[in-house]
């Protein structure tokens, strides 16, 4: 079976994780993705971890995971000769993803004109206009703008970010959505579109931020860390061999939980009916012993049988052995620059699990496809060497 995006060609010109994360999904579902990189390589190649902690421009975990199946070409597009190559490249492609400083993106976008050129998506921290457009941001400083760091932390302790890189990934992933949208649009109505994704807006405008709630209620989120002690139980609770996370503060889950841990009487107890927000301690006298007695996987299975929303808190070492992950082959072993390597598999499955629509191919070595691509673009051997010699390609 042919992969769904196999007749599509995407150009990625990216200085951060976001661009790579954006085009990964295209590539894994069959699109040809051409990564245009500087001599020093896309920054994502320098993101640890590395095998045995030895830096390797072709062996970083983010690169191996997010550049799967792509082609890598080195082009210095700061020069006219470089732009001339890009121009030919654009015309070969259906979509261009930019993730560079605003001014650079504008320059690279300017040579695009007319509807026989591809649609583009430009990723920036604050957008292509406005007083902040040229600001320097990173994964953490963008998250700070989205009210999430403030919310996901405790009073008078420093606000907290999410896992390193995850904000840029979300931004790139958002760009992937609009990208496939305008690609579809151009296929339908032949109109070339330029989309822009501003990191701050993409995250702030999404769910799981405190902004809209505040607009509605004027209440600041309580910075109370993991356990909400007014509307409980929700959050992270210790158990025999680790932690579980509960979302059982509301009905019908609260009742289910009380039944599941064998204390239906809680539901009749006036302390929890009339004055729940002040009786967390009292409630823990029922829940605490149950949690202490059992390990996280038992609690997970047992409470879920009663339809309670609960999950174990897992760490890296648990992931590969997770029964669900095994059953669905959620992790795939592939050959890579560092040898055998595990990657997360399909984010979604067409028709059936592990069908052919999703394929993970190894990530390209820096510049591995430059020569091939220049040939394809019609350059002669002599011209190709000249470009290399002039440090325009590598």
């Amino acid at each position: 079976m042919v992969q769904p995006l196999n007749d599509m060609c995407v150009i990625e010109i990216s200085d951060s994780i976001a661009g790579s994360a954006c085009t990964k999904t295209f590539s894994d579902y069959g699109a040809r993705v051409i990564k245009v990189e500087p001599f020093s390589g896309n920054k994502i190649r320098r993101m640890p971890p590395f095998k045995e902690d030895i830096p390797d421009i072709n062996g970083g975990a983010y690169h191996l995971s997010f550049d799967t199946g792509k082609e890598s070409v080195i082009i210095d597009y700061s020069s006219n000769s470089g732009l001339e190559i890009l121009d030919r490249l654009y015309q070969l492609s259906d979509l261009v993803i930019f993730d560079t400083e605003v001014e650079k993106t504008k320059k690279l976008r300017n040579i695009i004109n007319g509807n026989n050129y591809p649609s583009t998506v430009s990723i920036t921290p604050h957008g292509m206009s406005g007083p902040f457009k040229d600001r320097l941001e990173n994964d953490m400083s963008i998250l700070a703008w989205t009210t999430r760091m403030y919310r996901n932390s405790m009073e008078n302790m420093s606000p907290l970010r999410n896992a390193p890189g995850s904000t840029l990934v979300q931004i790139g992933h958002t760009a992937a959505a609009v990208a496939v949208g305008i690609y579809w649009g151009q296929k339908q109505d032949k109109i070339r579109r330029d989309a822009e994704v501003a990191g701050v807006e993409a995250v702030l405008g999404n769910v799981d931020t405190g902004f809209v709630s505040w607009i509605f209620t004027g209440n600041l989120p309580e910075r109370i860390g993991g356990q909400l002690k007014t509307r409980y139980p929700t959050g992270i609770y210790p158990c025999k061999d680790g932690h579980v996370i509960l979302s059982a503060n509301e009905e019908p889950w609260f009742s289910r939980l009380c039944n599941a841990i064998g204390h239906p009487e809680i539901l009749q107890d006036s302390r929890f009916i009339e004055d729940r927000e002040n009786n967390w301690q009292a409630f823990m006298e029922y829940l605490g012993p149950y949690l202490e007695k059992h390990d996280k996987n038992y609690i997970f299975t047992h409470l879920q049988e009663h339809g309670v929303m609960v999950a174990p808190v897992l760490n890296a070492s648990d992931l590969l052995d997770d029964p669900q992950a095994k059953a669905r082959k959620s992790f795939v072993k592939i050959d890579s620059a560092i040898g055998e390597h595990y990657l997360a598999g399909a984010p979604f499955h067409l028709n059936k699990i592990n069908d052919e629509s999703f394929k993970l191919k190894s990530a390209p070595k820096l510049g591995a496809h430059t020569n091939m691509l220049l040939n394809e673009l019609g350059y002669t051997k002599e011209e190709i060497i000249a470009l290399f010699r002039a440090k325009i390609t590598g």
Binding site: N80, L83, E84, E382, E383, I385, A386, A390
Partner: protein, 420 residues
């Protein structure tokens, strides 16, 4: 007082022309004590000239012709001179003592000759096991070409260099013979002999160094052999062009037989160049020439445009203008032109040498500057036998011995102009 890097190293030179002698001068520049044992009574190669009126190598002036030949002056500064007939028993005694004295023996006879003279490596190291002996025969000391003779021009031809010089579509007859090995071999052998002295710190013994001048050329031209081995192509002359760079060449400038080299290796250099030429549109993205690709396709066109532009400018002025814009450009200098360079004057590169037989002139300076002890031209090219007595005394001969030697023409301080 010149640089003292090699202070305490005694160098014994029995060599002619350039590859040997010039290297010894460089060691002299660096503080080594160099004694040149000059052929006697036969004049050494660089002291031979024909009729001074006809032979351009001879400087006008009084005194013996063999002291006025430019090729000799170029390879013999900063050393002492002993004119010695080493074929005589007394001469051999002197040479033996010199070998005892020396750390380095440099000989450039054709292969085998030094052995026939009785100073092969085995003899030499018997006399002084700490000495390093350097032989500079063109093809080295072993192999089928033992005994053959040639100047640097021949090694250039046999190393494959000659055939990639020359004009595009020119004939080999046009190829001007060059002495590249004479310029580069000394640089190599200095590394060789000093390396052997470092080795001596471990072994306590000197080394024998067999340097084939043709092999020293070979490593300098990896492109020639590789074109053949990698891609089975025999490299042809590229003259001043570069297959990957346009423009890259030599252009006519104002004045008779006057030229300027210009290269634009990057798009920004190209943009600056065409802007000066009043054609900034050639660097605009729309124009094919704005890309290296377009330029390569129009090499001839572009070269003729540049020639049109350069022909009215003085090459030094134009180079100044182009360089001010970051463009690679340099006048092509004729021999007198270096005196026009403010740079060389600013660096006090030129040296004024006081020599009894050639008029006072600015000569070329050193290959390098050194801090804190810069090289200086302490000893001009010595006259033949100029230091005979001093050296022989130092070797322990009495003034009487020296008198005898002079009588028997074992040593001397003049040549018979007529003989070769």
């Amino acid at each position: 007082m010149t640089s003292q890097l090699l202070k305490g190293i005694n160098v014994l030179e029995i060599a002619e022309v350039w590859a040997g002698p010039f290297g010894c001068s460089l060691m002299g520049d660096l503080g080594a004590d160099v004694i040149k044992v000059e052929s006697y009574p036969r004049k050494s190669e660089t002291r031979n000239a024909g009729d001074p009126k006809l032979d351009p190598r001879v400087a006008e002036g009084e005194g013996p012709i063999y002291e006025r030949i430019n090729t000799h002056h170029h390879g013999n500064r900063n050393k002492r001179n002993l004119a010695l007939d080493i074929r005589t028993p007394e001469g051999r005694e002197v040479l033996t003592r010199l070998i005892k004295w020396g750390d380095i023996l440099v000989e450039s006879f054709s292969a085998g000759t030094i052995d026939r003279l009785g100073y092969g490596w085995d003899t030499v190291r018997e006399i002084n096991e700490r000495i390093t002996m350097l032989s500079l025969a063109g093809w080295g000391q072993e192999g089928p070409y033992l005994g053959r003779i040639m100047f640097g021009v021949g090694f250039d031809a046999m190393a494959g260099h000659s055939l990639i010089r020359g004009y595009q579509n020119g004939t080999p007859e046009e190829m001007i013979p060059i002495l590249h090995s004479d310029a580069t071999v000394p640089l190599t052998w200095i590394v060789a002999v000093l390396g052997s002295l470092i080795e001596r710190e471990r072994s306590g013994k000197g080394s024998y160094i067999d340097l084939a001048q043709i092999e020293d050329l070979a490593w300098q031209f990896p492109g020639i052999i590789s074109e053949w081995k990698m891609n089975n192509r025999v490299a042809s002359p590229v003259a001043n062009s570069d297959p990957s760079i346009v423009p890259h060449g030599c252009y006519k400038s104002a004045g008779e037989d006057s030229w300027i080299n210009i290269a634009a290796e990057t798009d920004s250099q190209w943009e600056s160049l065409v802007t000066m030429m009043g054609h900034s549109e050639w660097a605009e993205l729309k124009h094919p020439w704005s890309s290296i690709i377009g330029r390569i396709d129009s090499r001839a066109d572009i070269n003729s445009h540049i020639n049109q532009f350069t022909k009215d400018y003085d090459s030094f002025d134009l180079a100044d203008k182009l360089q001010a814009q970051g463009i690679i450009a340099a006048p092509v200098l004729s021999p007198p032109d270096p005196l026009m360079s403010p740079q060389l004057h600013d660096r006090n590169w030129f040296q004024i040498i006081d020599h009894p037989y050639i008029p006072e002139r600015l000569l070329g300076g050193f290959l390098w500057k050194i801090e804190p002890d810069p090289p200086s031209w302490d000893q001009r090219a010595a006259l033949v036998g100029e230091n005979n007595d001093e050296i022989l005394m130092q070797l322990g001969f009495s003034s009487d011995d020296i008198l005898q030697m002079r009588k028997k023409e074992v040593i001397g301080d003049s040549y018979d102009e007529a003989t070769r």
